[in-house]
Each structure stands twice: as C-alpha cells, then as structure tokens.
C-alpha cells in the first residue's frame, strides 16, 4: 500500500538509486528532504537544475536527485560549478557538499567563488567529521572533540563557517540544524532566489561516528544537543557565532544585494562585443 501511495517528494529523487548509502539516523536525508521541499515549493523547472557535489557522505547526494548532477573530485564541486554556471547561466547550479570537502581540501574554491559573487548556491552539511573515511577530525571539528585521529582530544580550532562566508562576500548566509527543517527549507528557497553567492550551513548529526566518539551515540542524543544549544538569532554578528557545546547560533546572518559575477560578466561581454 505504501508503494502505491508513494512519497510526496519522490519526483525529486532517482528512485532506482534508493535505498541510499547513508547510515540510519544520519542528517543527510533531512537535508535532501528540505532541498526537495524547497524545489517543490518554488516550482523550479527540474530540467534546469544542476546538483554538484564533492566527495564524502553527503557527496553522494548528487546521485539521488532527479536533476542533472555531477559528483566531482574531492574538494572541487565549487570550481566545477563555476564552469557550468558561466557556460550556461540559465542553469540553477547548486553545490551540496560536506565540511571537509568544502572547507579543507576545497577551501580555496569556496573563498574565491564567494569573493567573485558567483551565482551559485552552496549548502554545506557540517557533521564535524570525515564520516566516509571512518571518523577523522576536520576543519569544523570542535576543540577537544574525540575522533580517530585526535585520540588525545582535538587541539585545532574549528572554522566558524558563517563568519568565513560572510567575510568572503556572500550575499546570503544562514545556519540551521537538521532540527530546524522548516527554517532550513525557507533558507534554501531564499538562497535559490538570490542573485549571487549564497551559503547555508546545516549543522547535521553523525551519530554513527561523531556521536559515538563524543557521547552522543544515538541520533536523538545529537538532536537533543542541537535543540538545547540552538539559539535563533537573526542577523547577529557572524564573528561571534562559533559553535560551542553550549551554543549554536542559528538564523540568517547576511542578506544583502550586490551585483553578481554573472551580471558584471554580461555587461562586460556586451561592451567587448560592441567594440569595433
């Protein structure tokens, strides 16, 4: 009976790719669901949406969305998306990838795409760890956390992603957790309609690895942390929005207008093409 009814968002998924590879209780499914909801509510032409991902658990998301999609090398989805968007500006190009992919190996592409104000949307699933390789610390792993490569506790400071994104010039920056599905969906909708570079950090649970190493071994325990630590505060100073065990500031941080790279490129091309 369930098969007959179908899932309300199944048209956004490649059904022959389901079941997905993600662990039970992983936050990636929630992010994918919110993305599908956003596409549905905006009624976007799916033939003109391209989902690009890198390597890692969430990197597999591009294989599940029923759009044109590309699964790039590790760290390079934004650079790949740059080529797609500039070659065909009609396409809505969305990068969905992880914290390690976007901010460790791929950090350079992120800061420069944001600086250029390239017309793409970047959604980062921040699970604080390299999940696919079994749980090593990454650029967002909180200080003193336990991972397979911090057996004595993490001594590295974590990136504050919303601060980084704002400083690099993003026109839209928001952070939500997988607990805030409605807010997250609205943020994705907003980002998809912005001109220029928009960034959404989704604090996501990895109970199977990060949780187990850090005394939150069930999805519920991780979500409980998100619930207790989250404070909704719109347009607060992103510099002060570090994620700590006691506080996860969520909300919109940046929502500004400025000419996108695509707009300036079109204007420049017009000038050049008119040149005698």
């Amino acid at each position: 009976m369930i098969e007959e009814l179908g899932h309300p968002y199944e048209k956004f998924l490649r059904k022959d790719r389901i079941p997905h590879i993600w662990c039970e209780g992983c936050g990636n499914g929630i992010i994918l669901n919110c993305f599908a909801m956003a596409l549905d509510e905006l009624n976007l032409d799916l033939n003109k949406v391209v989902v690009v991902s890198g390597i890692g658990c969430i990197g597999r998301v591009s294989g599940y969305t029923n759009t044109d999609s590309f699964h790039t090398t590790h760290g390079r989805p934004i650079a790949f998306a740059t080529g797609v968007k500039l070659a065909n500006p009609e396409l809505k190009v969305v990068v969905i990838s992880g914290d390690g992919d976007l901010f460790a190996i791929g950090g350079n592409h992120f800061i420069h795409a944001a600086r250029r104000n390239l017309d793409i949307q970047v959604i980062c699933a921040n699970n604080f760890i390299y999940g696919m390789t079994g749980g090593q610390y990454g650029p967002t792993t909180p200080l003193e956390s336990w991972t397979t490569t911090t057996p004595y506790g993490n001594i590295e400071q974590a990136f504050n992603l919303v601060h980084l994104a704002a400083a690099c010039g993003s026109v839209y920056v928001a952070r939500w957790t997988t607990l805030h599905t409605r807010w997250l969906t609205e943020a994705i909708k907003k980002a998809l309609q912005k001109e220029g570079f928009s960034f959404i950090e989704v604090v996501s649970q990895c109970p199977e690895i990060f949780g187990r190493y850090n005394k939150m071994e069930t999805p519920l325990k991780m979500m409980k942390w998100f619930k207790e630590a989250s404070v909704v505060q719109h347009f607060s100073d992103p510099a002060k929005a570090e994620i700590t065990p006691n506080r996860i500031t969520v909300g919109e941080f940046v929502d500004i207008e400025k000419p996108s790279y695509g707009r300036l490129l079109r204007e420049m091309t017009t000038r050049a093409a008119e040149k005698k």
């Binding site: 799916l46 790039t72 090398t73 790949f80 500006p89 350079n108 800061i111």
Partner: protein, 390 residues
C-alpha cells in the same frame, strides 16, 4: 554564451598574420569553437590566457581566471558538461596540479583541451626556458589506467592547426587532449596562414538521438566505443561521477565486472582508433639509412640536420611525431626496420626515447639530451648522423 550570431570575422581573423605561438594557439582555439577558458597565469603560457581574456568576450565567450590550476581544470570540465567547448593553458607546475581532474575528465569522458607550454622542471625549474620534460606526465600523470591524446606542435602555424585538431579529437573521442608545446614554440613569432572560417574542419561531439527518458544511459557507447554526450539543461537529468560507473552513470564501486568493462572501454576507445588519431610527418625517409625521430622544437633542428646530411651525400631522413600519445609504434617500427640507427634529440633526460627504443627493438637508438636554455643545434644532430655512417 548567447545564441546571437557572431560575425565570422570576429571569430577567425583569416589571412596571413605574424604572431607568437601562444597567440596562434588562442586563435586556433577560437577557430575550433572554444567559448570557455579557465586558467591561472604561468610562464610561458600566460600569453594564451591574456589573448583569450581579450578575445573571448568579443565572441561572447567566457574567460575566467581561477584561483589555481586545480580549479581551472574543474571549471573546464564543468563548462564542457554545460555544452561548451572549453580549454585551459598552463606549464609544468600547473600541469601537475591539473592531473587529478584530468583523470576526472578521462573518467567522465569530458571533451576538453589542455595546453602545456613546457618549461624546465622539476618543480619551479626554469620558468622562462624551454623543455620537453612533461611528455611522460602527459601520458601517465593522473592515477589509474587510461589512454589519452597528446599533440606536439613544432611551429607557430602548428600551434594554430593542432589546437583545432586537439578540439576535434577531444570532441570525437570524449577525452581530454593535451597540446604539448614548449617555450620556444610558444614564444616564437612566425608567419601564420589563417584560413577562411568555412574551410576549417570542425568536429562537434555526438549528441544523443533519443529523447530524455527514465532509462537514458549517458555512458552507453556506440560502435566506435564513444557514448553520445548529453549536456546539462536539456532534460536528460543524468548523473556523472568520477567513481566507477555503469552505462546509466550510476556508481558501481564493488563490481569487478563494472570496473573491467569501463576501464577497458576508456582505453580501447583510444587504442582501437589509433590509426585515425595518429599523425606523423616524414621527410626524406624513402631511402634513408639513418633516421631522426623527433617532435616539437627539436624536430626543426632535426630537419635541418637531415638536409645538411643529404647535402653531404648521407641518406638521412626525419620522422616527426605530431601525435605523441597514443605513441606511433607502427610508424617508428617501420622506420627502425629500414635504417641502421635512429637519432632521438629531446629536451629532457630521455622520455620519448624509451618509447622509441621499445618500438625500434634491435635497431640502435642514439640519444641527444638537452636541458636548459639552448635547443639542439642542427650540427649536433648532424654529428650523430655522421657517426652512424662512419
């Protein structure tokens, strides 16, 4: 990248022109239909980027200067999947950074052109000096098994012609194609005959003939082993990945059968079409007893040496390799069976030498190595030719 028709004269500046190799390369790319360049400044290839930055907007194309060569190569692949002919240009250090994504282009069968104006390495080496040290890297630089195409221009005219050829081969076989130039060919100024746009042979990738459907298989090959290429935005809603995949484009990470099938086809589509791909140029080889086998700038000194040898009554000839990869095994073997010895001048410590030795079998191969500023002098090659005759 609009549909507005661009005046042909803006795309191809036909006529006799005087230009550098790097500029000829850029003009060749435009003539081939290239509308996207992503790159990063690097000596001695920078002039290609500079010229593309000026010229591409005139024809409604896009130039973007990326943050590094890794991003440049990724952007080129993205642009190609969005349906546009795309290229980058670099030199040794940048070529090294591009290697992982060149492998991605191989795996996702992305038509694209990578120009490498070779300088002296390893590492930062000698940025303003010529070299031919990236020949093996062009073949084997990315991890895994694959076949690839590389062409070696030896004149400014060929920088124009072979860049067009590189795009045509890339579009035909859905493979990244390298133009392996060197600093001398890149920076040298010579006369170039740029033909009328309508007389330039242009190849565009095969497109799927079937309309979009749920069963669309974007990596299902045709008889030539090359799949027609769907592009983003046309409704096919297909998936491509650097993972081993099936004909649907879906990951098959645990199947030996899928790995074997895909990797063999990626190799075979080049190997089985080698006769259509490989180009060599022969000079005075008919009755030759000594052959010079060379490519790029070294082939020019080689030709001069062969002429001088002939003037002295020595039966010498030149086999110039225009295609470096796939390696022209049969062509070299044929020459080897005819001559007493082969002379290989190369601006490295012996890279193509290995391939020539392998193909030449019993025939002795004399190696003339050059490193640094100065290319081979014709007389140095002539000495080697005369040494064989003595």
């Amino acid at each position: 990248m609009t549909n507005i028709a661009i005046e042909k004269s803006k795309v191809v500046r036909s006529g006799r022109r005087f230009m550098s190799g790097d500029i000829a390369c850029a003009e060749g790319a435009l003539a081939a239909g290239c509308l996207f360049f992503a790159g990063y400044p690097i000596t001695p290839a920078t002039e290609i980027a500079e010229h593309m930055a000026r010229r591409l907007p005139e024809v409604e194309g896009v130039y973007i200067q990326m943050e590094d060569e890794i991003g440049s190569m990724a952007a080129v692949i993205g642009a190609s999947y969005a349906g546009v002919k795309a290229m980058t240009a670099t030199s040794g250090p940048g070529f090294s950074l591009m290697m992982e994504n060149i492998g991605l282009a191989v795996m996702t069968e992305t038509p694209c052109v990578v120009v490498n104006v070779m300088r002296g390495g390893p590492s930062t080496g000698q940025p303003t000096m010529p070299g031919q040290q990236d020949v093996m890297q062009a073949r084997w630089g990315s991890h895994g098994d694959y076949e690839i195409i590389a062409l070696a221009p030896s004149s400014v005219q060929e920088m124009f012609d072979l860049t067009i050829e590189a795009f045509n081969l890339a579009e035909t076989y859905r493979v990244p194609v390298s133009v392996l130039a060197d600093e001398i060919v890149g920076h040298m100024w010579e006369r170039v005959n740029i033909p009328d746009i309508d007389s330039i042979k242009i190849v565009n990738r095969k497109k799927p003939t079937a309309p979009p459907s749920n069963n669309f298989a974007p990596f299902k090959p045709e008889k030539d082993l090359v799949p027609p290429m769907a592009i983003f935005g046309e409704g096919y809603r297909f998936h491509a990945t650097g993972l081993t995949h099936d004909e649907r484009g879906y990951p098959r990470t645990e199947s030996a059968e899928a790995q074997t099938r895909l990797v063999r086809r990626l190799c075979d589509k080049i190997r089985k079409n080698r006769d259509r791909i490989i180009r060599v140029e022969k000079a005075m080889l008919e009755d030759a007893e000594v052959a010079v086998v060379a490519y790029g700038i070294a082939a020019r000194a080689g030709l001069s040496a062969v002429r001088k040898a002939r003037a002295r009554g020595i039966k010498a000839g030149l086999l110039r390799l225009v295609t470096l990869w796939p390696f022209p095994d049969e062509q070299v073997a044929l020459v080897a069976r005819q001559v007493k010895a082969i002379v290989v001048p190369e601006m490295n410590c012996g890279q193509m030498l290995r391939e020539v030795e392998r193909a030449a079998k019993e025939t002795p191969v004399i190696f003339l190595s050059k490193l640094g500023e100065e290319p081979h002098k014709p007389d140095e090659i002539l000495d080697a030719i005369e040494g064989v005759q003595r």
